[in-house]
Amino acid sequence: MSTDVKASWVSARLPILAQAQVFFTERNLAREAPYLGLLPALITAALVFMAASGLVLSVYYNGGQGFSSLQFIDRDVSNGWLIHAFHETGTTMIFGAVFLYLFRGIFTRAYKAPGELVWIFGVAQFALLLLVGWLGYTLTDGAVSHWSLTTSADDATLLTGIPGAVATWFFGGPAGEGTLSRLVVFHTVLALAVFAIAALHYAGSKAIAPKVSGRQAVGFHPYYTSQYFVALVVFALIFSVLVFFAPHLGENPLNAGPADPLIVPAALTPPWYLAPLSAVQSVFPGIYGGIIGVVAALGVLFALPWLDRSGPNGRAGFVYKLLVVVLALDVIGLALAISAGPSAIAGILVLVFTVWYFLHFLVLTPLVTALEAE
């Protein structure tokens, strides 16, 4: 009885508690959601984990001496090596989940009406995460990431007009003493902006979720809490295996050394999550080529709802699904080809895979979806 009085006392002053209770217990959700449908929730959980580990790292990180301050974190801070490995492997987990989410969206045509906006939020989150991931990569201040930052900042000084103004504002001129200190701030602020996009994504996908009522409907608790719990445990299990057995997964081993402005390492290959985009980018020549490559590669993803010509009721055909699987292999191929380091064969493969990537979205997707819809 006394708890009831207390609950009403609190909820009268804080109505959000009652709303939360309704959210968790009201029976208005469909049964049998697929486990892969929980990917956005897992991505958000991983983002929270990244924010927590990033907070600890930012306490000790010194942009003026990026590499040695990470060494200090690894060696002198209590459990610092673990927090560092959490942050490093958390990147792999987030990008793994985001790549899987995008391919599931393409494969199941989740981008089709009324899901266009949710899809666009998903791609926007991916784009922003790539930028945040690249900034975090430069903050390692390793032998390889140093050159990624230096060439980007140097190229940025050659841009003119509005892109040049934005780039100068972002990097503050050529890479130097203070660059990493300012990039820490951008890394943090943009990472928090990812949460904002995740919130939009959540609101959008809740709005288009099918409404269920009556005996078929189930409540969030305990029906979905237990499902989320299982998904989270599996996710955490993969995460801990990677943290403890492969903390540097998909990184260029040369980046384990400190940045040296006088020595260019033999292979300037990016971490795995940046590799596909880096490969597409490398195909386009010139200073603006890199930017065009990134914008085009992400642009076709944004435009996908309108590249699919199957109409509102078009069914997903076998050929389309096959093409999506080939696209997945194509993106893996892009990453592997660029990670193999510079060679004539790798250059040709990157070109072929890039052509196929754009061919898939700009030609094959409209064609196949239109043919299969009939």
């Binding site: 580990s53 200090f72 060696r75 002198d76 801070v77 209590s78 459990n79 610092g80 927090i83």
Partner: protein
């Protein structure tokens, strides 16, 4: 008969479910605690800071009648080795006759009575005191004097005269052995 057995089975299932629920919740809480611990631990002092906060100083090399100055927690710390005469002069001073009453045993560690460890800042105007070296000005009690306001301290760091009204502070420290003291 049948009804009671169904009822019994139902109760058993209920208690089993309760047990699983408690087990799951406690497992989850322990897991969350284990995850949270490295984050909390990492925000504690790092190895460098911890070592500096628990600095070890060798006092074996300090000559009688002199004091060394070390910096700990941002404060100048004076470590002084007393002569037999200084001990004899100060041992039986009646504490109540002093501006800030403190006995000889209050100012030294038992077993290591010839070492005085104090914060070397005047308790009036905060100035570093003079008198570490035998050739320095030490005032009438052979201790320390403040160059700023003229306060006079005895070798135990008790104030004897001057604007200052408090004895010199004694930092947290322990003797590890005859030769080493550790702060913090």
């Amino acid at each position: 008969m049948a009804g009671t057995s169904v009822h019994a089975v139902g109760q058993e299932a209920e208690s089993r479910r309760d047990f699983l629920k408690i087990l799951t919740i406690s497992g989850g809480v322990i897991g969350l605690g284990a995850i949270a611990w490295p984050f909390i631990d990492a925000l504690g002092p790092d190895a460098d800071g911890n070592a500096a906060a628990h600095m070890i100083v060798n006092v074996a090399a300090i000559a009688e009648n002199t004091a060394i100055k070390v910096t700990w927690a941002g404060l100048p710390i004076y470590i002084r080795k007393l002569t037999a005469k200084q001990i004899a002069d100060n041992e039986f001073v009646v504490p109540e006759s002093l501006p800030d009453p403190a006995s000889y045993t209050d100012r030294v560690k038992p077993g290591y009575e010839s070492f005085v460890v104090v914060v070397g800042l005047n308790t009036g105007v905060p100035c570093e005191l003079e008198g570490n070296d035998p050739s320095d000005t030490r005032g009438p009690f052979d201790g320390w004097v403040c160059p700023c306001d003229g306060s006079v301290y005895d070798p135990l760091g008790r104030v004897r005269s001057g604007p200052a009204r408090k004895n010199l502070g004694i930092p947290r420290f322990t003797f590890l052995n005859d030769a080493q003291i550790q702060f913090g």
